[in-house]
């Protein structure tokens, strides 16, 4: 007798499968391959040209949602409407900038609509923020390059003297550039601030190889899964276009320690530099799955499926192993979209 899988409806954001991709589509692919659930996907979009909107083999129905700057009330109203149509079981938000709102709405979504999320609490979420990452590193026993948050280019001179050059100039959520001189740092300050706003973070430069980990914690200190990856091909935006899973026990040990100490709840990406001496420096902890999370599925760990299970209150045991030496290679693909579809999402906010 063939047992049918329980049907669930999961709303996912981050459908911007572009050259600097959001994690939505890889998360959806992982969920569509779930061995435990039959998943109907509701896409949540911010823009009408997010490619995921038109991927009907992966996204069953899409709705536009208000930008985080519109405030939580308008987001809640919109989610209420979407829920009235789709009966959502779980929401997986995938944008850094929207997570704050979703974390705050998490308890209302659960108590009023029985919609589950699986995210860290606000305090843990804030504790790994770029501006306080150094303190996070101290608390979690992981090396972090020194950093200072600044609001004016006039502060660059002083901070540059403290941290030395080259120095890394970073946006609050996105973007980073390496400045060799104070003049370059001022230039990058303006570029990044114009795009992403203030503050800007100045970080000590550590040379070495970048290695990243996609991981998931259960909120009780257990690391449910972790897969390290090295980028093999990097786009001009610094994004991985190809990468390979690594066998790195030390990196897994550090990841488990960070997840355990911070009691991280949900998916995350840890970005490290491995110095020439073999020391690991945590550069960033992104509070959601990375866009390359599907590599973890390819290596035998379906992190998005594990997240959905935990969101629904099921017990999940840590993955015992993963396969190293697996590559991902991205590609671009032109979808042909009818004007009628574009009109529908543009005018009605649904597709």
């Amino acid at each position: 007798m063939v047992m049918s899988k329980p049907k669930i409806t999961v709303a996912v954001s981050g459908l911007n499968n572009i050259d600097s991709p959001g994690p939505g589509i890889p998360v959806i692919r992982a969920l569509k391959e779930s061995t435990e659930f039959d998943v109907r996907i509701i896409g949540l979009s911010y823009e009408t040209l997010e490619p995921g909107l038109y991927m009907h083999n992966l996204v069953d129905k899409s709705y536009s949602i208000p930008l985080p700057s519109s405030g939580m009330d308008s987001l809640l109203q919109r989610l209420e409407y979407i829920h009235s149509k789709e009966k959502l079981d779980v929401i997986i938000p995938n944008f850094d900038a929207e997570l704050h709102s979703f974390i705050k709405l998490g308890s209302i979504l659960k108590s009023t609509y029985n919609i589950a999320t699986f995210m860290p609490d606000l305090e843990t979420f804030e504790s790994r923020h770029k501006s306080v990452l150094y303190e996070f590193g101290v608390q979690n026993e992981v090396k972090v390059p020194k950093a200072k948050m600044i609001y004016s280019p006039s502060e660059i001179q002083q901070v540059g003297l403290e941290l030395g050059y080259p120095i890394v100039v970073k946006g609050k959520y996105y973007d980073a550039s390496i400045a060799a001189t104070p003049e370059q740092a001022v230039n990058y300050f303006h570029k990044i601030a114009n795009k992403w706003g203030l503050p800007i973070i100045l970080q000590e430069f550590v040379s070495g190889n970048e290695v990243n980990v996609t991981a998931i914690g259960d909120g009780e200190g257990n690391c449910i899964g972790a897969v390290p990856m090295r980028k093999l091909y990097i786009t001009d935006k610094g994004k991985a276009w190809a990468g390979i899973s690594l066998l790195d026990e030390e990196l897994i040990k550090i990841t488990k320690r960070v997840i355990a100490n911070s009691k991280w709840r949900g998916g995350c990406e840890l970005e490290f530099i491995k110095s020439q001496k073999g020391e690991y420096y945590l550069l960033e902890m992104n509070p959601r799955f990375p866009a390359w999370v599907y590599l973890a599925v390819g290596c035998g760990q379906n992190h998005p499926e594990a997240l959905v299970k935990m969101a629904l209150g099921q017990k999940v045991n840590p993955f015992p192993t993963y396969e190293s030496g697996k590559l991902f290679v991205r590609y671009s693909f032109d979808q042909i979209v009818s004007l009628a579809e574009f009109e529908k999402i543009s005018t009605l906010g649904e597709l």
């Binding site: 190889n209 990856m229 090295r230 093999l232 990468g243 390979i244 690594l246 066998l247 790195d248 190293s324 030496g325």
Partner: protein, 82 residues
């Protein structure tokens, strides 16, 4: 000289270091040397085997082997201990 743990070498001489994520291609002779290392042969034994098989001067072979080991060392494929 020992190959580092978990270094994978395919039948075609494609070498993969799962710790660094680096991969390399080697020619048949390089592949043969690596296979001898996997059989725990030391430097002297490798020189002897290759010198007999290819009728080459041992001194030249010793020098070429030293260069090859230096390359493997720089790519973190072997440790530096004899």
């Amino acid at each position: 000289m020992q190959l580092n743990k978990n270094i994978a070498v395919s039948e075609n001489g494609f070498i993969f270091n799962p710790v660094s994520g680096d991969s390399f291609s080697t020619n048949p002779i390089g592949q043969e040397i690596i296979n001898l290392m996997k059989e725990q042969k030391d430097r002297k034994e490798i020189v002897k085997i290759l010198a007999e098989k290819y009728a080459t001067d041992a001194a030249i072979l010793e020098k070429d082997l030293a260069d090859f080991f230096q390359m493997l060392l720089s790519y973190q494929l072997i440790n530096g201990h004899e």
